[in-house]
Amino acid sequence: MTWRIGVDIGGTFIDFFALDEATQRFHTLKVLTTPADPGQEVMDGIGLLQSRHGMDPATVTDFVHGTTVGINTVIQRKGAELALLATAGFEDVIELARLRMPEMHSLFCARPDPLIPRDRIFGIGGRILADGSEQTKLAAEDVRRAIATARARGAVGIVISFINAYRNPAHEDAAAAIIRAEAPDLFVFTSSETWPVIREYERTTTVILNGYVHPRVAGYLTSLEAALQRRGVMARPMVTKSNGGIMHTGLGKTACVNMLLSGTASGVMGAAFLARQAGLANVLTLDIGGTSADVALVIDGQPQFGMGEVVGEFPLFIPSVSVTSIGDGGGSIATVDGFGVLKVGPESAGSTPGPACYGRGGTRATITDAMAVCGFLGHTPLAYSSVTMDRARAEAAVGALAGAMGLGLRETAEAIIKVSISNMFVEVNKLIGRYGVDPGDFCLMPFGGAGPMLGCLLARELGMERVTIPRRPGVVSALGGLIAEVKNDFVRTVFLELAPDAAPALGRIGAALRTDAEAWLREEQRFDGPATTRFLADMRYAGQSFEIEVPIDAEWIAAGDIAAIAGAFHRQHVAIYDFADETAEVQIVNLRLVIAGVTTPPVFPVLPLADAPALPIKQVDVWYDGASRPMPIYLREALLRGHCLAGPAIIVQEDTTICIPEGFAGEVDSFGNLHLAWQEQLA
């Protein structure tokens, strides 16, 4: 009689995915967020699970939580006033960043304002060289002066990032010790404890993000823990991480940077899990919300990982699930310029005021309004009845553009959809170009509130022939937390030429990484189940300015098998870049270890087999592809295993609306996933 609960907080809604292990039934919920009182919505949801489904809080064994509190703190710039201690001579490290900036065709291009203004950045004497040796002692008096000035200028915490600290953290540690001893009211983070990797800007921006969100994240998690306890939930709560894993909330309070992308990462993890469950190897996931669309590749059932994912306006350099965010969502606004050309986005009506048809004060036409005008939406309540659709408002908003375009109302609505789809096409194409894959080899898995609405249309544009829509598209992220592993990444920069004499150092560092990882999992996370470890190396040819990630067999490190490591690098280089040079010098920049405590995935009930064809609840007229055509509307909850459907059709469910254009047809599998395929003969 135990329950496992996954929770994901988004901008407008908080999603629950609760599994009753006794009955193997899962329940989903959406509750409006309570921005004024974060955490309250979690309690509301738990109350609903109790009252609706008879859940006993004491029987909750897992409570896994994805939150946007960290990322919102960065986006809204409501984080802590910090000071930065930098090596003297390098105080501008975060302002210069890596120089290249967005909007590079504009004379007005600028970097985002740094999270720490220059007057709270202090140059500190003392120098560690590239080999880790100390050239000049740390100037303790500089640290003391900085503390006083930082405090006077309003800092509540200090982050420390010194040149070459990845190699020798002694100066960072010593400066931190001075602060802890002499200014215990200021919190301190060092770059070498956060992610000790070579490249000063990347390491500095990462530790700054950590410090910036720390007070809010810690405060939020503390009150969440207390509220859960009051409610009688005794399980130690977990939070989802940017790397797709989970950790205890206690650690989340200091290792904040690891949970900045918790929601987007767990969405991809959830989608990858559903893909594997459905037997799909290669999937392009498409999570569309109100303001943006997140796209990610799942290859051989596994999400892709990378560094440099963007948080607000800043790159985050810890291993994270790779997600490309596109500025097109259900709330993206359409405008017409002086030449009569239609633009959609990047401006968005967001959740407030939201699309005009939500009747919450929005008056400008959005993609959602266009879908309503065409007739795809508005036949049943949306988002668990929290939104009612006002089609007249949608028509007024879209109608305002029709004149400027010289088109009819429905033609204008269709144009908005088509232009936004082609915007997404450009961005998804870049992702495809970056990975060098063929979209035809992938199945599109749309989820989120607006994903299933636009998924088939985007697939058609991309030439993707297969679309799979999960049973509960609105709660994929919440599910992602529930199936995640207790996982952490460890890194040492080694920066060695890959030659036989590197073997002892690699062996030593490998062993140290393993000790750290085991301590983290067994002692810090108190995890006693089975665990996996995986070595990765960031490697390159000498002279290259970037590294590629190469999976390394632990045996190779233990046995000092340099040739095997080099071979793996050359093969990976061919796989990514189509060439290798086996005569060139290879450098191993970082050695990494990923440890993951395996959690038992929930078992999903199998749907009963359909014994009669699916029946639509009604027929509506929908305008698309230049004509009005009748479309049947089906209820998702009435669809059973083996049910077959062909477009054009609409499927409605509590958390989303699925639009199936003509040419797509498919079948429901045993888990309720709808697998659609492009039918050449119908097109």
């Binding site: 504009s106 220059r118 232009v419 082609s422 194409n429 060098g436 002279g543 990514i576």
Partner: protein
């Protein structure tokens, strides 16, 4: 028109996606760090005539949205499917504008008919010639700048011309890199062709063709809309490169911008004659040459960030570049370092548009980005190491609504740096400082962006430092509307020691162990009177270390005592300073003002008229001699007239042809 605006927008998106895809493929598979790190490459889709219809926005350089392949393409008479053509000759069709740039194009046929081309360029690390990397200011003929290929087919019907490739690879210093990049480039072209084929299947060939035409019209329309928003008139501006050759005289670029309705003429008459150095910009007199219009793309995009980037943007503009001048040199003038001159060309255009639309344009960006490289020996391994340290980039000019971006921005925002820790781990040098230079941004209501400074110490004998594109160490990035000029750049050996040597625009120097080299870029120009900058903002700049207390007082009239603004003292100081303010549009700084006391606009105009009348091979020689005889600095009591000085030159060199005054 049979296709509607919606389809047009969708075709535009698909074409851009194809160009982006080509760029990602090239970036992913290229071998050289030049492509990977500085992203000195471009990709385009052009129509059947060679006009660029789509470029990527994410990757690559910013110079070629308006490129026209037409002249070079036409030098090959017959195209067949699966041909790939290429050229790197600056004088064959004026497509490649220096020898390292290899342009390639592949026709896309549908049912036997040419639909369009997929194209692009990469900057090869080396194409042979007199010096490694093929580029040096000191070169005087294009023949010294590497092996050149006129437009030729690298692939004929899909078959590689191995012989041609062997000639190329024999002549270059890093053949493996050229070969690898070439392979990646071919992959990118094939990707582009595949994407175009998908578009033909989706939209139909007629719609795609028509869509390309309309996209050019659309960009043209947007450019014309911007011009309509700028008052008609004639706007003259000139700017100088510090040196016209190694240790040479100033090189003036002049522009008369005539805006009439929705069109504009850019008349570059009055620019210097072609130079006996590698600073020439080969345009072949093309009135729409993309290199002449790079500054214009920036202006258009700045005034309308929604603008579509393609060759339609060039249509409303007509450029006039007299033959035998620095902007339209005759073969075999050397052109390798044309990027330095292109920096001045852009600031020239920004200045002229600033006169036309002062309320919407920024002051001058730093305008000179020196790429610092080091060649040294590792004392432990005795290995020679050649590495790029960093591009040293200056700030943007003060904008109408905010300060210039610090340390980069404006027309240099595409450059990337290398982490200090990577450099120190790989190269036996110690970086002492890499950051912003205080007091380097031109003072103004909106301050110019600060310069970047780099100091490092070397440890091996015979360490060679090169810093390409050195300029603006004399003539400053100008301020506008009362804003001051930014601080000039500099290059100093062992600063602050007895062994200090100021290197100015020198671009190469040899160091001894223990030597410290300092380089800083120029700072951006300021915009608006510094006396109008809020005292609190000045105080914040002081607190942040962007401006010193001394300059806050001297330039901004803001007096700071104990960390706070003394408002009363500031008010009275500012009142006294205001009386000294003069109302000129530009503020050039003392160096240019001193120079123009002798070389007034009239004198320099007369100089260029005189030189233009001489046969091309005399021009640079005579200019150099005239400069030698003119006073260098200060205000001479009776400056000689150009006519008198010319007479002296003719007296010394009777072979100089006479000029009809």
């Amino acid at each position: 028109m049979t296709i509607d605006k919606v389809t047009l927008q969708i075709i535009g998106n698909h074409l851009r996606a194809a160009a982006e895809n080509m760029a990602y493929t090239l970036y992913r598979t290229a071998h050289s760090t030049f492509v990977k790190e500085t992203e000195d490459f471009t990709t385009q889709i052009t129509d059947a005539s060679g006009m660029c219809v789509a470029v990527p926005m994410d990757l690559g350089a910013t110079w070629y949205p308006g490129i026209n392949y037409g002249r070079a393409m036409a030098m090959i008479p017959d195209y067949e499917p699966d041909d790939i053509a290429f050229t790197n000759d600056p004088y064959s069709g004026f497509l490649a504008t220096h020898v390292p740039d290899l342009h390639m194009w592949k026709p896309v046929f549908h049912e036997g008919e040419l639909v369009c081309f997929v194209c692009g360029h990469i900057h090869n690390t080396d194409m042979g010639g007199a010096v490694p990397a093929s580029l040096s200011r000191a070169l005087t003929e294009v023949h010294q700048e590497g092996v050149r290929f006129p437009p030729l087919k690298m692939y004929r019907r899909g078959e590689l011309n191995e012989e041609l490739l062997r000639v190329m690879l024999l002549n270059v210093r890093k053949p493996d890199q050229n070969r690898g990049d070439l392979k990646a480039f071919v992959g990118a072209l094939n990707t582009g062709e595949r994407k175009v084929r998908a578009m033909i299947a989706k939209f139909g060939v007629d719609k795609l063709r028509e869509g390309m035409g309309l996209l050019l019209d659309y960009a043209e329309h947007q450019a014309r809309e911007v011009l309509l928003g700028i008052p008609d008139g004639e706007y003259f501006f000139s700017d100088y490169a510090d040196e016209d050759a190694v240790g040479g005289n100033p090189c003036r670029l002049a522009l008369t911008l005539r805006i009439e309705g929705d069109g504009a003429v850019l008349d570059f008459t009055g620019s210097d004659p072609q130079l006996t150095s590698a600073l020439n910009v080969p345009t072949g007199g093309d009135p729409h040459h993309t290199l002449l219009l790079v500054g214009v793309y920036y202006v258009l995009y700045t005034l309308n960030p929604q603008i579509v980037l393609n060759a339609g943007l060039t249509r409303p503009f007509t450029c006039i570049t007299p033959e035998g001048t620095v902007l339209n040199p005759q073969s075999p003038a050397a052109v390798g370092m044309r990027s330095l001159t292109c920096g001045r060309l852009r600031s020239l255009i920004f200045g002229a548009f600033g006169l036309a639309a002062p309320e919407r344009m920024p002051a001058a960006p730093a305008g000179s980005s020196s790429i610092v490289n080091v060649m040294t020996t590792d004392n432990r391994t005795h290995r020679t190491i050649l590495a790029a340290v960093n591009p040293i980039v200056g700030g943007a000019g003060g904008m109408p609504h905010r300060d210039g971006t610090n340390g980069s921005g404006a027309d240099a925002a595409y450059l990337k740096n290398t982490p200090i820790e990577i450099t120190e781990a790989e190269v036996p040098i110690q970086i002492l400082r890499y950051g912003l230079l205080p007091d380097s941004g031109g003072a103004g209501r909106w301050r110019g962006g600060l310069a970047t400074a780099l100091d490092f110490r070397v440890s091996a004998p015979h360490t060679r430092i090169t810093a390409r594109n050195r300029d603006r160490s004399r003539f400053r990035p100008w301020g506008i509307l009362g804003g001051r000029a930014g601080r000039p750049s500099d290059f100093i050996l062992n600063p602050g020691t007895a062994r200090e040597r100021v290197l100015g625009n020198t671009d190469t120097v040899t160091l001894e162990p223990g030597d410290v080299i300092h380089i800083h870029s120029p700072g951006g120009g300021g915009r608006g009177s510094p006396l109008d900058r809020e005292p609190a903002r000045v105080a914040l700049d002081v607190e942040r270390g962007y401006v010193s207390a001394a300059i806050a007082e001297a330039d901004y009239g803001v007096i700071i005592r104990d960390g706070a603004v003394d408002l009363t003292a500031t008010e009275s100081l500012r009142a006294s300073m205001r009386t000294g303010e003069t109302a000129t549009h530009f503020s050039f700084g003392p160096e240019r003002e001193a120079h123009e006391l002798i070389w007034t606009r009239e004198t320099y105009d007369a100089l260029t008229v005189l030189l233009a009348a001489l046969p091309i091979h005399w021009r640079f020689f005579v200019k150099t001699k005239l400069f030698e005889l003119m006073p260098r600095a200060g205000v001479p009591a009776n400056p000689p007239s150009l006519r008198e000085v010319f007479a002296e030159v003719r007296a010394a060199y009777p072979e100089v042809p006479e000029f009809d005054w």
